[in-house]
C-alpha cells in the first residue's frame, strides 16, 4: 500500500514534485512512493556484449550485475511496478541466447512485479527482448501528475520524467577540488534520471537556475545548492 513501506536503505533523499514523493536512491533509481513504483532509466543491458561482438574486448559481467542491483532494489522496496525510462537494451546482439536466459531467470524471480517500458532510441533498433514479458510497452506513459518519456519533452498535461541524457554535474569546491558526479535534475516542468547501467557514461549538463540537482556520491544522494549552479 502506498506509504506503508519502510525503506531499508539509508541516505535516501526525498524530492517532492507536483505534490508527489519521489525517493532518490543512490542506486540511480527513483521510488515513487504514492504509486509504489520503482523507476530506472537507461540500463543499456547487453552493451558490453555488443562491444565484444564488434571486436572490443570489454569484460563480461556488467549486465548480470545490473540485474542483481535491480533484484536488490525490488527486494528492499517491494514495488508493485517497475518502469524503465527507455534504452533498456543497448543494441542488437548476434548471440542473444545467454542474455535472454539471464533475463528470463531474473523475470521468473520477480514474476509478480508489473514491468513497464517507455521505449527509447536504442530500443527501436535493439527490439524488446521477449523474456522481460513486459506488461506494458509504449512511447509515452501518462500517470498523473507525471508524463514519462525516454527523451525529455515538454507536456502541458503533466510533469515530464525522462532519461536519455545520462546527466552529471561538475562539482568544484574547497581548495580547487573537482568531481564529476552523476545526478538527478529536477526543473519546474521536467525531471531527469541518471543512467542506471553500470557500463554507461554520463554527460555534464548545465543546469538552469531553477533546477534542483541531486548528486550521487558513492552510497549517498546529496542535494546541491541551487545558488552554486554556474551560468544562469
Amino acid at each position: 500500500m502506498p506509504g506503508s513501506k519502510t525503506i531499508t536503505m539509508e541516505n535516501v533523499t526525498t524530492h517532492r514534485a507536483r505534490g508527489q514523493k519521489l525517493r532518490l536512491l543512490p542506486a540511480k533509481a527513483v521510488f515513487w512512493q504514492e504509486k509504489n513504483m520503482l523507476i530506472v532509466a537507461d540500463p543499456h543491458f547487453g552493451k558490453a556484449q555488443l562491444f565484444r561482438e564488434r571486436g572490443i574486448p570489454v569484460p563480461r559481467g556488467t549486465t548480470a550485475t545490473d540485474l542483481q542491483r535491480l533484484t536488490r532494489l525490488l527486494a528492499d522496496l517491494q514495488p508493485a511496478s517497475l518502469l524503465f525510462l527507455g534504452d533498456l537494451t543497448h543494441g542488437p546482439v548476434n548471440n542473444p541466447e545467454r542474455y535472454e536466459q539471464l533475463v528470463a531467470a531474473w523475470r521468473r524471480r520477480h514474476a509478480k512485479v508489473r514491468l513497464l517500458l517507455v521505449s527509447g532510441n536504442h530500443d527501436q533498433q535493439a527490439g524488446v527482448p521477449a523474456p522481460f514479458a513486459f506488461d506494458w510497452v509504449g512511447r509515452v506513459r501518462q500517470e498523473a501528475p507525471f508524463v514519462f518519456t525516454h527523451q525529455p519533452q515538454d507536456f502541458a498535461a503533466g510533469y515530464n520524467l525522462a532519461g536519455h541524457v545520462h546527466p552529471a554535474v561538475a562539482m568544484a569546491g574547497w581548495g580547487g577540488l573537482k568531481a564529476t558526479l552523476p545526478c538527478f535534475c529536477f526543473g519546474p516542468d521536467q525531471g531527469l534520471l541518471p543512467a542506471f547501467g553500470g557500463f554507461t557514461g554520463c554527460q555534464v549538463i548545465r543546469p538552469r537556475r531553477a533546477d534542483r540537482i541531486f548528486v550521487i556520491a558513492d552510497d549517498a544522494v546529496i542535494a546541491r545548492p541551487a545558488q552554486a549552479t554556474p551560468g544562469g
Partner: protein, 828 residues
C-alpha cells in the same frame, strides 16, 4: 636479376660522380657523410647524430644511390622504375615533402630511374591505391602509415627487396610508443630481408649509444655510431626586468616584458619566438600584433593544432624569408628546414637542455657565427633556470631519452595489424618481437595473454562465441572478417587524441582543431581566439565548430592538454646549484644579480635551502593550512611526492588535502592543521613500500585513469570512428574512463591495467627519480619555517595551482563539505 658485385673501379667512378654533383652545388661532402656512405657500402647499419640542418639527409640517402651507380654503369639498368629500395620513416608528415625534394633532386641530377614518393595520412586515396600495387623506389612515410602498409596482404612481396630503412628524428621517436611501432616494423623487415641496412638520424642525446641499441635491437653490436659536425657555440641571454618590485613573482606570462621583446624583435631582421604551450603562442601573437599593428602580414603563428594548410603557408613564408617573426611551439623544433633566422626568443624556461640547444640551433647558421637565444622569464624565478641552462649547455649535460619498455597496448595493436594483413605464425612472431629492444624481455605468458586478448577477448573460445577477432587457420593467425580489418585500420597509430573538434569557417575553410572540453564551455555567439584570429561561435555540428571572423576586442584562448613540460633532471640539478650560489651571495650571472631582491626577501621571511637541506614552510590563510616543500625536482616528481606525503599524512587521521605543484616544490593545503613536527618523523620520507604507497595515493588522484586513455586508444578499445560519418563510433563508443572503471571492476587482472599503473610510475611520476628524491629528503637537514605570508618561493605555487585531490575521507563526506563551503560562499 642482381648485378654482380661492382668492381673497385666502378665504386670509385660512382663516388666521383656524386662528388662532382656536390661540388656543382657548391658543397664538399663532410667527413661524417663520407663515413656513412662507406659504412653503407660495407653493408653496415648505424646511427648518425648531429644537430639539425647539417646534411644528415644526404649522409643517409646517398649510400644507396652510390650503390646503384656502381651497379649500373651508363646504359645498363634501363628506364624501368625499380621496386622499393629505400624506406624513409619520419615522425612528422610536414617533414616528408622536404625529404622528398632533397632526395628527388639527387636522383634526378644523377640520372637514376628512381621514383621518390611520399605516403602519409595526407596522401590521396588514388595515390595510395597505386602504391598498393607497386611502391616507389624510395618511400617516405610515417610510423603509422608504415603499419598501415603492413596491414594489407602482400606486404612481404612489397618490402622484400628493401635495401635500406632510414629512421629520421630518431631521438624524437625513441622515447615514445611511436618509436616502438618503428622497432616492431624494423624487426619485420629484417625477417623478410636479413641483409637490410638500418640507419637512424638523431640529434645528440645524453644517451646516444643507447639510442643505437634501441634502433637495432638484438643486432645492435654490429651498429656504427657516426657523429656529425661539432655543434655551434650558443649564447644564452635573458631579458631582465627593470625592477623586481614591478615584476610579477608568478605572473602567468612574461607579457609585462612585451615592450622589451618588441624592441628585441625590431633589432634583428628575423626572429623565431618559441613558447611552451599552444595557448601562449596565441596570447603572444595577439599581444605583438597589438603592440605593432604594422607587423600584420609579416608576423606569423605556428602550432600543432593549426590545420596543415595554415602551417604550410607559414613554413613556406619562412623558407622565402618574408617574415619578421614567427610565434611557435615545439611544432617548429623538429626538422622543417628553413633558412636560419637571426635570433631565437624563448618565452618561459625551455625546461630542458636538449630543447634549448635544438631551439637555439634555429638561428645563425652562418659559419663561425654563434646561435643566439634570448630567454624571457614568465616569472622571476625562471631566471634561475636560464642561468642553470647556460651552465648545463657549457657542461653538455644533455638529457637522455628513455626508451619505452614492453607496451602491451602497442603489441595488441600490432598483432591485429598483422592479422588483418597476411596473418602471422604465433611462434615465429614471438621470437621476432623479442628481437626488438622494447620487447626483449617479453615473457611468453604476456605474449600469449595479449594474443588471447585480441583474438578471443581473453576467454576460451568454446565458452563464448561472441568475441572472435582473430582466428587460426593452417597455423596462421588471421582476422575473422573484413569488417574487423576495416575498423582496425581506422585506429592504427599511437597518438592519443582527446576528442578533437575541428574548427572551420562557414565557407568550409579549415583552421585547425581544439579539444572538446574547451568547446563545451562555449555557446553560440561567444568569441574566442584561435589561429591568431578572433572567432565567433556560429554552430557546432558533428564534431565541427563553424565560426566566423569577429571584430570583438577580447575572448578566451583555448587551453590544450599536455602542454606543460616538467623541468628535466639535468636542468633541475643545475637549478639547485644556482640556488646554492644565490644562497651564498655569489652573483655569477646577470640573472642571479637580478634575482637578488627576491633572494634577500626569501632569506628574510624564510630561508634559501642550501645543498643537503629541505625547506618546509607553513602558512595559515583563509583557504586553510598550507605546507610548502621544495625538492626542486620538476613538476612530475613533485606531484608524486606531494601525493605520497598527502596520502601518508591523511592515513594518520582523516584529512582532505589539496595539492598544488610547480617545478620547484609543492603545496599541501589541508582543511585543518598539520603540525610541523610530523616532518621530524623519519617514516614520512621512508622509501619502504614506496611503489605500493604511491599507487595507493595515485588511485585517489586518478592518474591511472588518465594514463589509460592512451592505452585504450592504442589497444583498440576506443574506436575513433569512420571519417566523414555522422556518428563517431555510434553504438560501440565508450570513453576510456568508463572502460577503465569497467575493467577495474570486472577484470582487475587485465594486463593493460597493470601497464597503466606502470606507465604512471615511469612516465607520469618518474618513479626512479622520485625514489632518489625521497631518499635525499630523508637524509636532508630540515628547515621548518612558519610564515606570516607566502614566501617568494611559495607564492608561485599558490598562484599556479594545479589541483589534484587526495583524501582518506569518503567521497560523500567530501562532497557534503564542498557543499557547505559553497553554501557559505553563496551566503557571503
Amino acid at each position: 636479376m642482381k648485378p654482380s658485385k661492382p668492381s673497385g673501379q666502378q665504386q670509385a667512378a660512382a663516388l666521383k660522380t656524386v662528388r662532382q654533383w656536390f661540388q656543382a652545388r657548391g658543397w664538399e661532402p663532410f667527413a661524417f657523410q663520407r663515413e656513412a656512405w662507406e659504412a653503407y657500402g660495407a653493408g653496415r647499419s648505424g646511427l648518425i647524430h648531429a644537430p639539425t640542418g647539417i646534411g644528415k639527409t644526404y649522409a643517409a640517402g646517398i649510400g644507396p644511390i652510390l650503390a646503384w651507380l656502381s651497379d649500373h654503369t651508363a646504359g645498363k639498368g634501363g628506364a624501368t622504375v625499380p621496386p622499393l629500395q629505400v624506406l624513409w620513416i619520419t615522425p612528422l608528415r610536414a617533414l616528408a615533402a622536404e625529404i622528398q625534394t632533397a632526395l628527388q633532386q639527387a636522383v634526378d641530377d644523377l640520372g637514376l630511374p628512381w621514383q621518390v614518393a611520399v605516403r602519409t595520412g595526407d596522401t590521396s586515396a588514388a595515390v595510395k591505391q597505386r602504391q598498393k600495387k607497386k611502391l616507389p623506389t624510395v618511400l617516405i612515410t610515417t610510423p603509422e602509415s608504415l603499419h598501415l602498409l603492413l596491414s594489407y596482404a602482400g606486404a612481404r612481396e612489397r618490402f622484400g627487396r628493401l635495401q635500406l630503412a632510414v629512421v629520421d628524428e630518431w631521438h624524437e621517436l625513441m622515447g615514445s610508443k611511436r618509436g616502438v611501432l618503428v622497432e616492431l616494423a624494423l624487426a619485420r623487415l629484417k625477417t623478410w630481408q636479413p641483409a637490410i641496412r638500418i640507419w637512424g638520424l638523431s640529434a645528440t642525446l645524453g644517451n646516444t649509444a643507447a639510442a643505437l641499441q634501441v634502433l637495432l635491437g638484438t643486432s645492435a653490436e654490429q651498429g656504427l655510431l657516426i657523429r656529425g659536425n661539432a655543434p655551434k657555440t650558443i649564447t644564452i641571454s635573458s631579458i631582465l626586468p627593470d625592477g623586481m618590485e614591478r615584476f610579477p613573482w608568478a605572473g602567468h606570462l612574461g607579457i609585462k616584458l612585451l615592450p622589451r621583446v618588441v624592441a628585441t624583435i625590431e633589432s634583428a631582421a628575423s626572429t623565431l619566438i618559441f613558447t611552451n604551450t599552444r595557448a601562449q603562442t596565441e596570447i603572444w601573437y595577439q599581444a605583438l600584433l597589438e603592440a605593432r599593428p604594422g607587423w600584420a602580414g609579416r608576423l606569423a603563428l605556428h602550432h600543432g593544432s593549426l590545420a596543415r594548410r595554415e602551417r604550410e603557408r607559414v613554413e613556406q613564408a619562412l623558407h622565402d624569408g618574408g617574415l619578421k617573426a614567427v610565434v611557435c611551439t615545439s611544432s617548429l623544433d623538429l626538422g622543417v628546414d628553413f633558412s636560419p633566422v637571426d635570433q631565437v626568443i624563448q618565452i618561459g624556461s625551455p625546461k630542458g637542455v636538449a630543447r634549448l640547444i635544438q631551439r637555439a640551433g634555429r638561428s645563425g647558421h652562418r659559419p663561425g657565427r654563434p646561435s643566439r637565444i634570448i630567454c624571457v622569464p614568465t616569472h622571476a624565478l625562471e631566471l634561475l633556470e636560464v642561468a642553470a641552462a647556460r651552465k648545463a649547455v657549457e657542461q653538455q649535460a644533455i638529457e637522455p631519452r628513455v626508451p619505452v619498455r614492453q607496451p602491451l597496448d602497442v603489441l595488441a595493436q600490432y598483432l591485429v595489424t598483422l592479422a588483418v594483413g597476411d596473418g602471422f605464425q604465433p611462434e615465429a612472431l614471438y621470437h621476432e618481437v623479442r628481437s626488438t629492444h622494447a620487447f626483449q624481455d617479453l615473457p611468453r605468458t604476456a605474449y600469449d595473454w595479449v594474443r588471447d586478448f585480441v583474438s578471443t577477448g581473453g576467454e576460451t573460445l568454446s565458452a563464448y562465441p561472441e568475441f572472435r577477432k582473430i582466428v587460426r587457420k593452417n597455423g596462421r593467425c588471421t582476422a575473422s572478417s573484413p569488417k574487423i580489418a576495416g575498423r582496425h585500420r581506422m585506429s592504427i597509430g599511437t597518438i592519443t587524441g582527446d576528442a578533437a573538434i575541428v574548427i572551420k569557417f562557414l565557407n568550409g575553410r579549415r583552421l585547425g582543431s581544439v579539444e572538446e572540453r574547451f568547446v563545451a564551455r562555449l555557446k553560440r555567439g561567444d568569441i574566442f581566439v584561435f589561429a591568431g584570429r578572433r572567432l565567433e561561435f556560429v554552430r557546432l555540428r558533428d564534431m565541427v565548430l563553424y565560426v566566423r571572423a569577429s571584430r570583438a576586442p577580447q575572448g578566451p584562448i583555448p587551453q590544450w592538454l599536455g602542454g606543460r613540460m616538467p623541468l628535466s633532471t639535468e636542468l633541475a640539478a643545475a637549478v639547485r646549484s644556482q640556488l646554492d650560489l644565490a644562497a651564498r651571495g655569489v652573483r655569477a650571472s646577470a640573472e642571479l644579480e637580478a634575482l637578488e631582491p627576491i633572494m634577500t626577501l626569501q632569506a628574510k621571511w624564510s630561508t634559501i635551502p642550501g645543498p643537503g637541506e629541505l625547506l618546509v614552510e607553513k602558512l595559515v590563510s583563509r583557504d586553510g593550512h598550507h605546507l610548502f616543500l621544495f625538492p626542486f625536482e620538476g613538476r612530475l616528481v613533485n606531484e608524486g611526492l606531494a601525493a605520497l606525503l598527502a596520502y601518508r599524512l591523511s592515513r594518520e587521521k582523516p584529512l582532505t588535502i589539496a595539492i598544488a605543484v610547480n617545478d620547484y616544490g609543492f603545496e599541501l593545503l589541508a582543511d585543518r592543521e598539520i603540525p610541523l613536527t610530523v616532518f621530524e618523523a623519519a617514516t614520512l620520507f621512508a622509501a619502504d613500500d614506496l611503489a605500493d604507497e604511491i599507487l595507493a595515493s595515485i588511485n585517489a588522484a586518478e592518474m591511472g585513469r588518465r594514463q589509460f586513455r592512451e592505452i585504450a586508444r592504442v589497444a583498440g578499445l576506443v574506436f575513433p570512428g569512420y571519417p566523414g560519418r555522422r556518428k563517431h563510433g555510434g553504438q560501440i563508443q565508450a570513453s576510456s574512463s568508463l572502460l577503465y572503471n569497467v575493467f577495474q571492476r570486472y577484470a582487475p587482472d587485465n594486463l593493460l591495467l597493470a601497464q597503466a599503473t606502470r606507465e604512471v610510475l615511469e612516465r607520469q611520476l618518474e618513479y626512479r627519480r622520485l625514489r632518489q628524491s625521497l631518499e635525499r629528503m630523508a637524509r636532508a637537514q630540515l628547515r621548518l619555517i612558519a610564515l606570516d605570508q607566502p614566501s617568494p618561493l611559495a607564492f608561485p605555487i599558490m598562484v599556479d595551482r594545479l589541483r589534484s585531490r587526495i583524501s582518506s575521507e569518503k567521497l560523500a563526506d567530501r562532497v557534503r563539505r564542498m557543499q557547505i563551503r559553497l553554501e557559505k560562499k553563496a551566503g557571503e
